[in-house]
């Protein structure tokens, strides 16, 4: 590694292989570095040695602590030389060595001298080096020079100071914030890059002050920005302001005109930045989009690949939300399919697949087939995913699309690619009934020659669920039984289970299945034998054509409606005792992943396979935390924990957020506190909660936080009792109370005596939504119908004037705190009515399904019909109550 250029082949021509670093060795170069100590410095020689040292570092060589220190001290001697070129290399070298604090002191004076030098180059570079290696204490000494440098008439010096300011803001914000006036002056600089750097720094200084950012943007958008880079920054800041301004009404969106004006800028980077910003506006209208799409379309036929890529990537994103707006570009897009740059071609294809209409599908598929052979797997996956969504959009085209998928399934490819294809076929089978039989046969053929155990087992499992429901289940048996002969033990075991499923579901096949299963009893793997034995015994042993009992089916093949992660945790916590493990005590909430339904076994939420082990849920962590606190141990099972709610503004002295933990008869507030002042230590931290506006709650316990040092978050808890099983709501006001002690920042030791102090926090509310778990269902209609209309409650509500239909839909979803199903939370643009499906679990473990139908009544008034189904009438009523009172 140290010598990457050592000659490998002596026969090679010396001339061609010549490198100044041939055979370079660290030890030798370190020896050479002694020339730095010569009384008569040879700048040229020194430069060469520094270059060699830099070369070594660049090649990944590392210096030991001793070596680095030695080199550093030697390099500092070079400040004696007047040679500018050498000095320049010295600067770079010091930055690369990143010396430690005690070493920095050695060069500080030299660098400070350079900072005040008459040579601009010295000033600029010394600032950059010093700011890079310095710590806070030195900064106050040089602050004066830095402020001067910011307004220096040499742009290089000013830029150096400003960029250093941007870096320093991360570590020493309070000092850099004092430079506002100088930075503001620099924003007006005539030098393009100075303006860019000044604008970046000014915005970062003010980023937490929305009003100031607003003012900055409104003054600059009137036009005094010269640099294209600064203009790009301004566009980003502007779209941030637009995003944060509450006014989403398209008609008078502030600053839109500025963005549109930037589309006519002379620099391409500005045009593109503006076009991209417009496409990313919230709820952008077609009228607003059109000019942006037009310039992007021009980029599509540019001779520069970068421009084409940028444009097609942005249009691709637009196509996800506004496919119609992009259709104008389809012709340009089609010519990009043959683009030399495969990234561009892939993006063009997937965009076309998103915007294409039914009639163009076949033509497109032909073009893609040629294209697929010469792109990398990762691109192919993107294409496969696009084809899947296209097929879901045009189910009538399933034949040609399914054919395409099965063709590429047969070709060479890695695991991820194959998995993407198989997943797509599975999803198509699930959602398009007509595609089921062909799809299953494609999968059967695939496992005949599949090198991936994981995919084989997943497909076998899926076959077991879907196969028996087809018109002729017997034709799959051969494929499955072949696996028992030809595969490894894992696949064989999966095949046995699948066979058994056919046997259980299709009574006529049972005798034949039993013959096959008996043969498996002689398998040389015990898992395979065990499974075969289990199935033979439970399915009615003698192989007669009898019906298998529902309970046996449920026992063998019923789906597990508990997230596996939770089950795993509960099992780990279970200690063998008289009491048997109770599967119903396993918590069910998983934020990311919908539960499988009880009554529709095997309907998979996504693609193939058992529900993937979701990320270890925070619920588990909370549950562990709470059960470890004795005061809360007898509250029973945790029903739900809310997302953290901030109780302080960002950037305040103490940052506090709260998590609401709901138990059956109790509520626990967990206050997560962070102390952001290095000079303080907080002790005995409590939150004093005033529950006078929450009548049904009574405080029962509170657990103070003993000590809260700087920047290490801690928690304090307050618990309330509430009527059992009811969704009590209320408002709580909070006051943080603590004893504050001064800390000496240099030693880190706190003073002995502290002062009691209080800090007002924002109010906190417990709302009805806190009592509903977000639990999705994969097939809403099935769930809805199986729930039955027994406990259905329907009513109509007028929601009054609203900004838009989408806003009304979101408001109701937020109010109920339920999980939107099947993507129905998205309201298509300009639609006058919308149906939204929600599901959840109400406190007391009652499943609730909600169907919301919205309609526009007059120009702005939204009317809503709310239909609730649940397992309990009173719960259905309660949901109506929430809406009626919300």
């Amino acid at each position: 590694m140290a010598q990457p250029l050592v000659k490998k082949d002596d026969d090679r021509d010396d001339e061609a292989d010549y490198s100044p670093f041939l055979g370079i060795e660290k030890g030798a170069v370190l020896q050479e570095a002694r020339v730095f100590n010569d009384p008569q410095l040879d700048p040229r020689r020194c430069s060469q040695v520094i270059t060699k040292l830099l070369y070594l570092l660049n090649q990944g060589e590392t210096f030991t602590k001793v070596e680095a220190t030695e080199v550093f001290f030697a390099v500092t001697k070079l400040f004696q030389s007047k040679d500018i070129g050498l000095r320049r290399m010295v600067y770079v070298m010091i930055k690369e060595l990143s010396p430690s604090a005690d070493e920095v002191i050695i060069v500080t004076s030299s660098l400070m001298k350079d900072m005040t030098s008459k040579t601009d180059m010295y000033r600029a570079n010394a600032i950059r080096v010093l700011c890079r290696i310095t710590d806070g204490t030195l900064l106050t000494q040089i602050e004066r020079y830095l402020k001067q440098a910011i307004v220096d008439k040499n742009p290089v010096v000013a830029s150096a100071a400003l960029v250093s300011g941007i870096h320093l803001l991360q570590t020493n914000p309070e000092i850099v914030k004092r430079w506002s006036n100088e930075v503001q002056e620099a924003v007006q600089s005539r030098a393009a890059l100075v303006q860019f750097h000044a604008l970046a720094l000014l915005h970062q200084i003010r980023q937490n002050d929305r009003l100031a950012v607003n003012k900055l943007v409104s003054s600059l958008t009137k036009g005094s920005v010269r640099s294209p880079l600064a203009q790009c920054l301004l566009i980003r800041y502007t779209s941030q302001v637009i995003r944060e301004s509450a006014n989403t009404q398209a008609a008078d969106r502030p600053f839109y005109d500025f963005l549109e004006g930037c589309l006519r800028h002379k620099a391409e980077m500005v045009i593109f930045e503006a076009a991209r910003a417009i496409t990313e506006l919230n709820c952008v209208t077609t009228r607003e989009l059109t000019p942006a799409i037009t310039v992007l379309q021009l980029f599509l036929s540019s001779s520069k690949p970068v421009l084409r890529f940028a444009a097609v990537r942005t249009l691709n994103k637009v196509a996800m939300t506004h496919p119609m707006a992009v259709t104008n570009c389809n012709i340009d897009m089609e010519s990009l399919i043959s683009d030399q740059n495969r990234s561009i071609a892939t993006l063009a294809i997937t965009t076309l697949l998103k915007t294409g209409n039914e009639s163009s599908v076949d033509r497109l598929m032909k073009q893609i087939t040629n294209f697929m052979s010469d792109i990398a797997d990762e691109f192919k996956i993107v294409v496969v995913e696009a084809i899947r969504s296209l097929c879901l959009k045009f189910p009538l085209k399933h034949r040609s699309l399914m054919n395409f998928l099965s063709n590429i399934l047969r070709e060479e490819g890695g695991f991820d690619y194959k998995k993407a294809i198989v997943d797509s076929i599975v999803i198509l089978i699930r959602d398009i009934p007509e595609a089921k039989e062909t799809g299953l046969l494609h999968l059967c053929e695939f496992i005949e020659d599949c090198e991936f155990t994981y995919l084989s087992t997943q497909i076998l499992h899926f076959l077991g669920i879907e196969g028996p429901k087809t018109s002729d289940p017997s034709k799959y048996i051969r494929y499955i039984y072949n696996r028992v002969h030809l595969e490894n033990a894992t696949v064989r075991a999966a095949a046995v289970s699948t066979l058994a499923k056919f046997g259980a579901m299709v009574d006529t096949l049972k005798p034949r299945i039993f013959v096959l299963l008996r043969r498996c009893l002689f398998d040389n793997d015990d898992e395979v034998r065990d499974r075969a034995t289990l199935y033979l015994n439970t399915l009615g042993g003698d192989g007669a054509v009898v019906q298998t009992g529902e309970d046996v089916k449920e026992f063998l093949f019923g789906s597990l409606d508990i997230p596996l992660v939770n089950l795993e945790n509960s099992l780990k916590n279970y200690e063998p005792s008289e009491e048997s493990f109770d599967i119903y005590s396993v918590p069910r909430e998983v934020k990311t992943q919908p539960l499988a339904e009880k009554k529709a076994p095997g309907k998979k939420p996504t693609g193939l396979g058992a529900p993937p082990a979701g990320p270890p849920s925070t619920v588990d962590a909370y549950e562990k935390l709470l059960s470890s606190i004795p005061e809360f141990a007898n509250f029973g099972k945790l029903f739900k924990s809310s997302a953290p709610v901030e109780l302080t503004e960002a950037e305040t002295e103490y940052a506090v957020n709260v998590v609401k933990h709901i138990f059956d008869g109790h509520v626990v507030f967990q206050y997560n506190c962070t102390n952001t002042i290095p000079e303080q230590l907080l002790e005995n931290v409590t939150v004093i909660v005033d529950a006078s506006e929450a009548e049904e709650f009574a405080e029962v316990a509170s657990k103070p936080l003993r000590s809260l040092p700087y920047d290490s978050p801690g928690q304090t808890f307050v618990a309330f009792e509430k009527p059992e099983g009811t969704p009590a709501i209320g408002k709580f006001s909070n006051m943080l109370r603590f004893i504050v002690k001064e800390v000496d920042p240099s030693t880190g030791e706190a003073e002995d005596d502290g002062v009691e102090d209080e800090y007002q926090l924002e109010e906190l509310e417990v709302v009805a939504a806190d009592y509903i778990l977000k639990v999705g269902v994969s097939n809403f209609r099935n769930a809805w119908e199986s729930m039955g209309a027994d406990c259905e409650r329907i009513d109509e509500y007028g929601l009054g004037p609203r900004e838009s239909l989408a806003e009304a839909v979101n408001a109701v979803i937020d109010l109920l705190g339920m999980q939107p199903c099947e993507g129905t939370e998205v309201v298509p643009n300009n639609s006058r009515s919308h149906t939204c499906l929600l599901s959840g679990v109400y406190i007391g473990n009652v499943k609730v399904l909600v169907r919301l139908q919205f309609g526009l009544d007059g120009p702005k008034d939204v009317a809503m019909k709310l239909a609730v189904r649940s397992e309990d009438e009173s719960v259905s009523d309660a949901i109506h109550e929430i809406v009626a009172s919300g």
Partner: protein, 177 residues
């Protein structure tokens, strides 16, 4: 949210994917091994493309990489997934052209290694800690070349390389035009 355009790294590799000069500005690659792995995948993903007349672009692992080749040298500039591609291309072009000016048109691996100091200074003048310092090739080359113009330096130290002097002449001519 970070709004300022940021450069994640600048690389020059040779025609076998070996390092000539690299500079990383992001913690995304904490170790030398991670850096080498990134360079390897960048190199293999781009080596078959023809990026000689116009800068090319690709995206992988949530990075955008713009690149340009000349002789046996491969220049790369990497940015984050949401970066403005054209800004990255401007940085690449500035770097590429500045090196071309400073090496007087003969840009290849041999020249680059012989003038590695110039290349390193060039990178140093383009980006500081991820923030773009300058994208104009003439200005960048000017800043690098001007360093030999120290009035105080004795003539005997007609220094680092003759190349600098020639580059300077070249520049002053083009600037005075």
């Amino acid at each position: 949210m970070e709004l300022c355009p940021l450069i994640k790294n600048i690389l020059i590799l040779d025609s076998e994917g070996k390092r000539i000069a690299v500079k990383y500005y992001s913690d995304d690659w904490p170790t030398n091994a991670a850096k080498e792995a990134f360079e390897k995948s960048v190199f293999t993903k781009t080596q078959k493309t023809n990026a000689r007349t116009e800068a090319e672009i690709t995206m992988f692992d949530d990075y955008i990489v713009v690149y340009k080749f000349i002789q046996d040298l491969h220049f790369f500039v990497t940015g984050g997934e949401n970066e403005n591609e054209i800004i990255l291309a401007a940085v690449l072009q500035g770097f590429f052209d500045a090196v071309g000016l400073l090496l007087r048109g003969t840009v290849d691996k041999k020249e680059a290694l012989e003038n590695l100091d110039i290349i390193l200074l060039c990178i140093d003048e383009i980006v500081d800690g991820g923030i773009i310092l300058e994208t104009d090739a003439n200005v960048i080359a000017g800043k690098v070349a001007s360093h030999s113009m120290d009035a105080g330096a004795p003539l005997s130290e007609q220094t680092i390389t003759q190349a600098l002097a020639t580059a300077r002449e070249h520049l002053t001519r083009s600037l005075l035009k």
